[in-house]
Amino acid sequence: MRTYSQIQGDGGSGAEQIADLEAAIARRMAGIRHVVAVGSGKGGVGKSTLTRQLGAVLAAAGKRVGILDADLNGPSQAMLHGVRNVPPLPGEEGLLLPVSREGVKVLSVGSLLAEGEALSWPSASPRHTHVWRATRELAKLAELLSAVHWGPLDVLLVDLPPGPERTAQFADFLGPQTAVVLVSIPSALARGVVARSVSALGALPNRLLGYVENMSGYACAGCGTVRPLFPESQEAAELSLPCLGRVPFDPQLAALSDDGRAITEVPEAGPIAAALAETARTLFERLEEVP
């Protein structure tokens, strides 16, 4: 009796289709110079806002930038880029994406849903969705990626959903050429979770570029100085990673984000603009380094 490997093909089931899909994604992303997954492990650290603003700063520096919102259940990039009501459209060479005012191409489920509406995941086995949920999400993301015409890009920033295991899962999904940047805030709790993400990523071949410390102090609108936002902690885990930059908290940025605007639209934006520019420059330099 013949064994599995002695039989060519799989008789019409899905393995060949999955291989074809992966090949299609690779073709679609062949014109992208650097893919950077931005994760954290910890929710609420400002990862999506940071990703959006770093993309704008890179675009302002002349880079061709795309943003992939990989959080299908909590998409935010469409709103952050002011393209929530702009649908992706069929083009000559594939799916064309909404483009922000700064010229950043944005793929986000937030462009496909009404505000406040969430994706639902119908199931044949209610109460057991945990078995297949992640698989279905990634299959849908793969389907989208196999159709998108990104064109040539210098950087594709991928905004990951929170969770150390999700960070590693998506890095694996995006492939070994994808670099990873982690976002933390100066609290012991956040640093501990980010340290777990570092550990989870350790089993993968992906290049871990470093971390960005967000909310690194409070930028006073009155005097322009940056003051501590979190208490100094002796127990905060040391992240064995290069720090790519420290970005202060600024209420101005929160207002801009709600309005779908970028920091690059604001002249004299103060310490946060300088910090974002420096972080983006360091990030791109690290990407260009041969590992």
């Binding site: 008789g11 999955i18 992706p88 069929p90 799916l95 909404p98 483009v99 639902s120 995941w121 698989t135």
Partner: protein, 152 residues
């Protein structure tokens, strides 16, 4: 997963896929040598797992993969994608389209070439542009207008 006809030592071929119950797939294989047929009936968990992989299963799958504009079920406009049911608000847009502008076969093929989860919003956006410009029929020109309108 592969199926082998043990007496013939021959790989069985997928012959048909049916969804007789909402939570079960009936996948029929036959032996090309002796003609023996067998059916795999999935339980609800296996059904979910197969669906979650995002693959098409059935005799039309190969043709559909070669020509993404063709409905896998063989029925024009039929949906096999579980995602369409997830987009509650946007499926209403599709339901409303019979009273909207007509689509030429070429423009419709272009729309059907993009992932199903994107189509309702894309269709709504294109039809909005058609109405804005007074077009009764959506063709390649209107698609180009829509791309320009949305800055693409």
């Amino acid at each position: 997963m592969k199926f082998l006809c043990v007496p013939c030592d021959s790989q069985m071929r997928l012959r048909a896929t049916e969804e007789n119950e909402p939570s079960s797939l009936s996948v029929v294989y036959e032996c090309p040598e002796c003609g023996y047929e067998m059916a795999m009936l999935t339980n609800q968990h296996e059904t979910d797992m197969v669906r979650s992989l995002g693959v098409r299963i059935g005799p039309a799958a190969a043709a559909a993969m070669a020509n993404p504009g063709m409905a896998a079920s063989g029925e024009p406009g039929a949906s096999r994608c579980p995602f369409s049911a997830m987009l509650g608000g946007t499926t209403q847009v599709e339901a409303a389209t019979p009273s909207g502008p007509e689509w030429t076969p070429g423009a419709l093929a272009r729309l059907e070439s993009i992932p199903e989860m994107v189509r309702p919003m894309a269709r709504a956006g294109i039809e909005m542009v058609a109405r804005e410009n007074g077009h009764q029929v959506i063709d390649e020109t209107v698609l180009a207008d829509a791309r320009a309108r949305f800055g693409m």
